[in-house]
Symmetry: C2
Subunit: 395 residues, 2 copies
């Protein structure tokens, strides 16, 4: 696979009381097109990652809403895969281009979450979990707390180990002007924050966020015609797992993420060790520890150790969540998977300002729906990177 | 495009009080796989068209729900495009196969609508319209009534002309054991039914329906390996229009449907006149009159005349909605676009029983979201049909 990222844009993430879903979508869509250096009429199809519009504003059919906002009649398709809606939308756009039907595609991810009371949003978010989980009164933080407890028991990790993940992501977020929470935290502050679902505290959790992100993707042929030296998506894979946590064999690993990552490495012709930086789905701190293991960056049970040693910090061995992650940059659910690729693009284009990594040639994004019922993995290489086997070029 | 329909299945459509979304989805998925003559493990990816699950049961993330039901970890992606969710899901599956990533795909469309009070369902359905339309108290029958009134004014059609469409579709539905309303109607009965939104009466409207439909699609190469003589999708196109009716130039035609159809004809290398039968989106009788014109089967303003002359009836010039259409077969919104292709498959395989058409070699399906904000058109040819230009084979 060779799909060029021609342009990218992220709105400010946060509690944006003066912006609607339409405002955010429009800003991200036109921002991405402008960054791509193409005209809007050059965009041939679009995909829209959005989870909650029907529950929040009663609005289905946001593909057509987007067509109206953008003034276009191209096909626009809404993808919903809970918090993996954005990543899955990127993937569908890649396949639409690979199919040969289109040379360019816009991908938009957007979510307007703060228009509901927090209790209502929590109920809405539980739509990504199973009926049994909803009926038993579980929340998402409760579900991830079950995983954290099991992870602690199995590997000897503790609350401070998870706190270090939040601290690292807030450090990165403090360098990102688009982040919802651009400030640093200390371990003590995380430890002193209110318990939400033991052992996860308030500062282990990603926030409720408004925001949008957009990408313009293009075929190799189209990008070549423009003389593009922009980053290229070389793998896009998705896998499923059970909706219910109770039906899993293991609570300390997401089987879907492992499968999608394995397939993505094969498609790209690279290995985990080759990945220089990554954006992973840290909806809760425990999720990042597991992600590092599921993606093959660390051995099982050693994800939290790598974080503790500073290996995943800017300047470390393999920087994770330079954007600040879901924790500090924010988590507008349908936008998150798209934003991860916007961050990768910014880093590869050398535009990441104070959080710029020098190791910026091969990156991975990891976007999760629910407790792992959907997992989407993308691998991106910069124009300077040669890492891609001959075999994978054919795939 | 050459995507073989290896298998197809439709559940009974109706008010199915003893069946859940899970039951219906499972029956259609396994039914389609069995009909395809493959094993479930041969299915490599899946797409799920569903509109209302989040609003009806609070359940998002139905891709993962389906993975749990089916016991699989393949990627399953939910597509939502209001009442065009099913058709759009078929289209995404076609492109996934065309991308070369997959050789087989399952497409499922399912909706469980009768678990809500009718007033609540009406509110939920309006999620497919614009905010302004919802806030002004319009319903979908109200929106289509505006179109009907304009159509009457412009072309001189009247209520009895629309009634003839319901009568024709109920005649076809009376021959379909899977139909929700398998009985005939007379013009007088339609005319005597309660006025819902002038000039549309109860019997001009499609019903609220539970049901599911499934397809197994395969690449040309895979189908060849099986020695398949099954129908082949030779075009799949989608277009958008404004969400709001008030922003359209014309209320008597759906511009998105015209565009998608035009592109589909070009992709398939066929013309409207070549199409032998079609399943069109008759959510209200007026929609079928407009569809006949948008698809190029009739000149503008003559769709209703063709129906009156019996040209669209079984045995006529070009049979329309042999399944009974949305009107008589039923309209489980996310399933409808998939069911249209199930009907085409059944007709081409000679399995349509009493409603079997002899002119069954080249067909079209037309699936609409909202009042035309999304339109999806597929063209299918039977194994016996030679109609496909050399040019289109390359596309």
């Amino acid at each position: 696979m060779k799909i060029t990222i021609l342009g990218a844009y992220q709105t400010k993430f946060g509690e944006l009381w003066d912006k609607s879903l339409k405002d955010l979508s429009s800003e991200a869509a036109f921002g991405a097109v402008e960054d791509a250096g193409v005209l809007f009429k050059d965009i041939q199809t679009a995909y829209f990652g959005n989870k909650m519009s029907p529950q929040i504003t009663g609005q289905n059919h946001v593909g057509s809403l987007l067509a109206e906002i953008l003034g276009t009649d191209i096909p626009i398709t809404r993808i919903e895969a809970a918090c993996a809606s954005g990543g899955s939308a990127v993937r569908q756009a890649c396949m639409a281009i690979e199919s040969g039907q289109y040379e360019t595609a816009l991908v938009l991810g957007a979510e307007k979450m703060t228009d509901l009371a927090i209790s209502e949003i929590s109920v809405g978010l539980m739509g990504a979990a199973s009926e049994q989980e909803r009926e038993s009164g579980l929340s998402f933080v409760g579900l991830y707390a079950l995983m954290a407890r099991k992870y602690f028991d199995k590997y000897g990790a503790g609350e401070k180990d998870l706190a270090a993940i939040a601290v690292k992501n807030h450090f990165h977020g403090s360098l990102n002007p688009k982040a919802q929470f651009p400030f640093v935290l200390t371990i003590d502050q995380v430890m002193a924050s209110s318990m939400v679902a033991d052992p996860l505290k308030l500062l282990d959790c990603s926030p409720i966020t408004d925001g949008a992100a957009g990408l313009v993707l293009a075929s190799e042929k189209y990008a070549k015609k423009l003389g593009s030296k922009k980053p290229v998506i070389i793998a896009s894979k998705q896998a499923s797992d059970t909706l219910s946590l109770s039906k899993r064999k293991d609570l300390t690993s997401l089987a879907g993420a492992e499968k999608a990552a394995g397939e993505a490495y094969r498609q790209a012709g690279v290995e985990a060790k080759d990945i220089e930086f990554a954006e992973v789905h840290d909806c809760f701190t425990i999720a990042e520890a597991m992600a590092l293991e599921d993606l093959g960056f660390c051995k099982k049970g050693e994800g939290y150790i790598a974080v503790g040693k500073g290996k995943t910090r800017l300047g470390g061995e393999r920087a994770i969540n330079l954007s600040g992650g879901l924790k500090a940059c924010g988590h507008p659910v349908g936008a998150t998977g798209v934003k991860q690729l916007v961050e990768v693009y910014s880093q590869m284009m050398g535009r990441a300002g104070k959080r710029q990594t020098k190791k910026n040639k091969l990156a991975l994004t990891h976007n999760i729906g629910g407790t792992g019922g959907t997992a989407v993995v993308h691998i991106v290489r910069s124009a300077k990177c040669k890492a891609q086997s001959e075999k994978s070029k054919k795939e």
